[in-house]
Symmetry: C2
Subunit: 400 residues, 2 copies
């Protein structure tokens, strides 16, 4: 029924079973007997369906996928057997009859609200429940070939949007009007509608367009360039600022296809740019090229960050690197997948050894206070022998 | 600085102080000495700023607004005095010095993730923290004249989008392409970018376009018509389904202006509609008209629902009213404000007495399984003597 309405392949059966088996192995290692998965993205990852339901994974038995609604839709989407329920309380008796309610229980404590958690503790009869998110997060960090296919398809949407931008960006246009046209373009080419970011108060747009002053505004968000937004009620994203000659206009676009997010940035310009912007862009490009020359499986992410920082220092741009003043952020890359804030984070703060199948956005950017910003963002797939670009879209400044 | 980049008025100083004083009065009644507010929308409601910060409200002293970043931006936005902090741990000493860390403490337990909550309990040194969300929720239910002005401006975006739809909806277009054009139109006319929905796993689009089969697909979401989406990874919203003659195309659009959400639905048609759709639309219209005839301050929301249900029954449409089978929902209206799932909910399940200044979306809809859906959604402001429509956009079927 849904085949005629949706695009995008379902998650293959083997892949769903492999993911669950990997989780079971990690639960075994950590002494967790039962994981109750409620968050929609994790549920989608392990079942292939994002319907209203609950997945119970026991370390030593078959998973039970409880679905409240839509049953019809979940049945089309998941390779798992479905246990229909009318309400979440029904789960207790079923798990109890299976003998699954013993040993340590884990839930996603990083996202479960206190009241939801207390309710589940009481439904299941546990006094204490541990956090199972670190296990899930570490599983999700390595992308399968199926996932990489979705990511590449997502990247194609980015390439189309950047091509369209070349046609439409003109002097005098408001950032928000450029954004409106480009979002529309992305949607027509398969964008899923919105992107997901995990955690309390984590919000994001599909597209950030910044230019001059708006590219230097600091926001509460942990990103180097957030934009001013059109209202203080959503203080991020494109603003009503108009494109002027000689100042780079940055387009930071996030595509989403079949759940999978990609996120790249390009610089557009009307007329010649001042030297400081040309230099910033050139250094960003060199950082990307040098990173592609040495990073690969086995390299530590902290080294990737430190080399980029070193390059920025060497070029006299350290002060502006990845933000200025209170707006400076402590990373140059972030993992991509079903959520935009996955691992690996490329930061000096946490060691992370790159492994084949990790995917991250890499975004050397320079913010010149009172002036504007410049930079590039590309997405990388970590391979044994190097980094593979997700898109083949040019990283040159686009003069329009 | 931001004046040149943003549209939309800041929340007036008097209003911020009135909101905080109302919260303090309710805290006093409930025996809560200190409320720590972390969720971004609540923070915006009480401070006028959505920067990264924490608001500490004591029942018997001045509030303390801690801001981590952006300080510059928060200073432009809030009438409150700001206490800058480097990290959230700094709050403990400041509140302790003020003597504010005594008595019962409340936090937003409906949205605070367990790990965040545990961290705050430990920072503040409380063993037990109660839920302060019911107090905030009940305050937010009554909209001020400032808020109503924002809501009406939000409604103007809806009217423009519905006008644009008249120009562009044509036979053979995909739902998602119509959505792309209309979202773009709304954005150019002041839409803030996205809408907010409170709670775990609560996600929404700005626009839902459904037509025939896609209007009958049930999703995990608690809405009468969710659409199929373009992917099972986001199983809601417009799909790749194409508009055909004789079947209504429903456009359910949510505008957001300066934080405030409006949400209306209209039916479009290419060619004549079958009788069942004409009847469904006519009954939806009569339900709206009858509701406007009797509902006002003092009326119970359960009565509003029951009268609508009675009308549907009387017309032989009960089976299709507000969903069919597993897709049937238990409400016909939902509150609007900074989030789309505010109070009042118009449902037979919970008594709620309408009061001047409440705002809700009212959506009599009929879902005919295997066929399609029809219905209307309008937004109402509750007044002493009746209901006021937020927009003056026609509710007739639009033949294109």
């Amino acid at each position: 029924m849904l085949k005629s309405l949706n695009v995008g392949e379902l998650t293959p059966k083997d892949e769903i079973h492999a993911r669950i088996n990997n989780l079971k192995a990690r639960m075994e290692e950590q002494g967790i007997a039962l994981a109750i998965i409620l968050q929609n993205v994790d549920l989608f990852y392990f079942t292939g369906s994002l319907q209203k339901g609950v997945l119970a994974v026991s370390a030593d038995r078959d998973p039970v996928f409880f679905v409240e609604k839509s049953l019809a839709r979940a049945e089309e989407e998941t390779p798992l057997e479905i246990t229909p329920i009318k309400k979440d309380k029904d789960i207790k008796d079923i798990l109890s009859d299976l003998g699954a309610l013993r040993g340590r229980c884990g839930m996603e404590l990083d996202v479960l609200p206190v009241l939801v958690f207390e309710r589940w503790k009481s439904i299941l009869g546990y006094d204490n429940i541990v956090d199972v998110w670190p296990l899930i997060r570490d599983l999700r960090i390595i992308k399968s070939s199926f996932e990489i296919r979705q990511v590449k398809r997502s990247g194609e949407i980015i390439s189309r949007v950047f091509e369209k931008a070349k046609e439409i960006v003109r002097e005098g246009m408001r950032e928000v009007d450029i954004a409106a046209v480009l979002e529309s373009e992305g949607r027509m080419h398969g964008h899923q509608g919105f992107l997901r970011m995990r955690g309390l108060n984590q919000e994001m747009m599909n597209i950030y367009i910044t230019h001059g002053l708006s590219g230097t505004i600091v926001s509460g968000a942990d990103v180097p360039i957030s934009g001013a937004g059109v209202t203080h009620a959503i203080p991020q994203g494109p603003s009503v600022n108009r494109a002027q000659r000689g100042i780079p206009l940055l387009i930071d676009y996030g595509a989403g296809y079949n759940g999978y997010i990609t996120d790249e940035t390009r610089a557009y310009a009307v007329g010649e740019l001042k030297d400081i912007y040309l230099k910033g862009h050139a250094v960003a490009r060199e950082i990307i090229e040098e990173t592609m020359d040495f990073a690969k499986e086995g390299i530590d992410g902290t080294e990737v960050f430190m080399r980029a920082l070193h390059k920025a220092k060497h070029e006299g741009l350290e002060e502006y690197f990845m933000g200025y003043g209170e707006g400076k952020v402590g990373f140059i890359g972030h993992g991509l997948g079903l959520e935009i804030n996955e691992l690996p984070v490329i930061t000096p703060r946490h060691k992370i050894i790159l492994q084949e199948g990790m995917i991250f956005a890499f975004e050397p950017k320079f913010i010149f206070p009172g002036e504007g910003s410049v930079g590039i963002e590309v997405d990388f797939i970590v391979r044994k022998n190097g980094l593979e670009r997700v898109t083949d879209s040019s990283i040159d400044i686009v003069y329009v």
